[in-house]
């Protein structure tokens, strides 16, 4: 019998929008999969791609980077830089033939509790379909 697959998703959430949106999902008592473990950063632009790579190569089934919608960044333009870095990262992962679908960038505002829940639900379902990260079993990565 196979054990039930519970994905492990790392969620980097920017303090001002997405973390607040996640809090609002809580305040509104919405259902969000427990697979996502939130990590609060001040801005999505703090999310060093090496952090995402680290999570990914250590076997995270999914990594979500979430920040303010373009134009809404608390620090004016951080999320634009974040998007470029994420794009490069995604290309690298894709280029190496790894599952880049396990990486997701989403914009969630502080009023979008429902959207936060939807994003995580959707991502969680997708990861469930993909199954556990094959990286988990690769000791030499």
């Amino acid at each position: 019998m196979t054990e039930k697959f519970e994905p492990r998703i790392v969620g980097f959430l920017c303090n001002w929008c997405s973390y607040a949106g996640a809090d609002l999902a809580g305040t509104s008592k919405l259902k969000v999969p427990a697979s996502l473990t939130p990590i609060r950063v001040m801005c999505s632009s703090r999310v060093d791609p090496v952090l995402v790579e680290t999570a990914f190569l250590q076997g995270a089934d999914g990594v979500l980077v979430a920040g303010c919608h373009p134009g809404d960044c608390h620090y004016d333009e951080g999320n634009y830089y974040a998007r470029r870095r994420f794009a490069v990262l995604k290309k690298v992962v894709e280029g190496l033939g790894l599952e880049s679908d396990r990486l997701r960038l989403s914009w969630v505002s502080a009023s979008e509790g429902q959207r936060f829940a939807d994003v995580v639900n959707e991502f969680n379902e997708k990861i469930k379909k993909m199954g556990p990260s094959p990286i988990k079993g690769k000791k030499s990565l």
Binding site: A20, L24, S28, H69, G71, D72, S109, A110, Q114
Partner: protein
Amino acid sequence: MKEKEQKKDVLVIGAGIAGIEASLLLSKADRKVHLVEKTSYTGGATIKFEEVFSNMECSTCMVAPRQQELLQDNNINLITLGNVEDVKGSVGDFTVKIHKKARYVDMVNCIGCNACFEPCPVSLKNEFEEGLSERKAIYVPCAGALPNVPMIDTDNCLRFKGKKCTACQEACMFEAIDYNQKDEKIEIKVGAIVVASGYSLIDTKPLSKFSYGKIDNVYTSMEFERLYASNGPTEGNIVLRDGKNPKSVAIIHCVGREEKGYCSSVCCMYSLKFNHYLKSKIPDIKISEFYTDLCIPGKSHQKFYEKMKETKVDMIRFNEIEVAKQGKDTVVKYSTKGKKNTLPVDMVILAPAIEPKNDASELAKTLGISKDDYGFFKEENPYVSSVISSKPGIFIVGCAQGAKNIQDSVSQANAAVGKVLSLS
């Protein structure tokens, strides 16, 4: 003669965006601020908007950090459900009496878990949501409201109507609900007063040609804001009262402009913003904007207009306009360039004029400041400063002084702080 002591504390009336900004800035200067807000929450009208023009920034993301800051600021004494009843004295030494209505929920004990809502047997229209959804007799206006502490609406609570209900109290694990709370009379001494009491929209019902209240799918701009809000009654889905998505919309500018005799300065821009709202949710929706003169002053606004025009919105300049039923259809009958036309639409959004709050007159009387011909608080002289009222030491900011956008409201709030700080 002994010089009278100048009080340093400041009273700010209204915790909308202008009041919040004024309070935070005053606190930064180590001033003690008493911020009196009529409702149970902070953020005023701004927090009702999902996005603000012209950069379409998320309003909550913009304001919530400031609201948080406000609540955690030890220099700021926020008095919600408060009403300024009496003001005596003069600049440097005002004595202010505030009537603070009981919330019946303890601000310290309540942790904002919302467990008390569900068991409440009373259900009624939520005013914050423009009546588009229901609330209980114990409620917060919307999820994420700050302070996140409910209040009991004693007009509708069964207990306050003499019934024995204690449903909410039983549900609360924190002994936060206190039916014995009493209204309070608070007396404070301040040196200056900043009035940031906000605005209302003109009641569109009496403007019968727009059929508001008669035809179901005619909405006011504020109703539409809530309809689009992701924390609103439909979680941002644009659905009509009959549950359908509109396929065509008419947005009518300048509703009540003639009656009021002035241009409200923000309606063109927010109507264009609505265009963006609608297209983002229903991409193939047909939108007609009925306007008289496009008033889009300022360096970034025309660019926004041009971007909106690219979405193929139909901009129609009207002379006469009327909303009516034609058979089953809702139609906009209008004349343009001397020709008469009829346009059937699924939804009509009205952009009503901004007007003073209904209690502005009373507040003006309490404060002893004058009003202009339109009922807004009157600036003593715009070339000395538009934030100086007719009474020294009292400053008027935001839409309480006249219709304006957020940027100009915040500028005035900052200006009033400048005035207060240079008083002494």
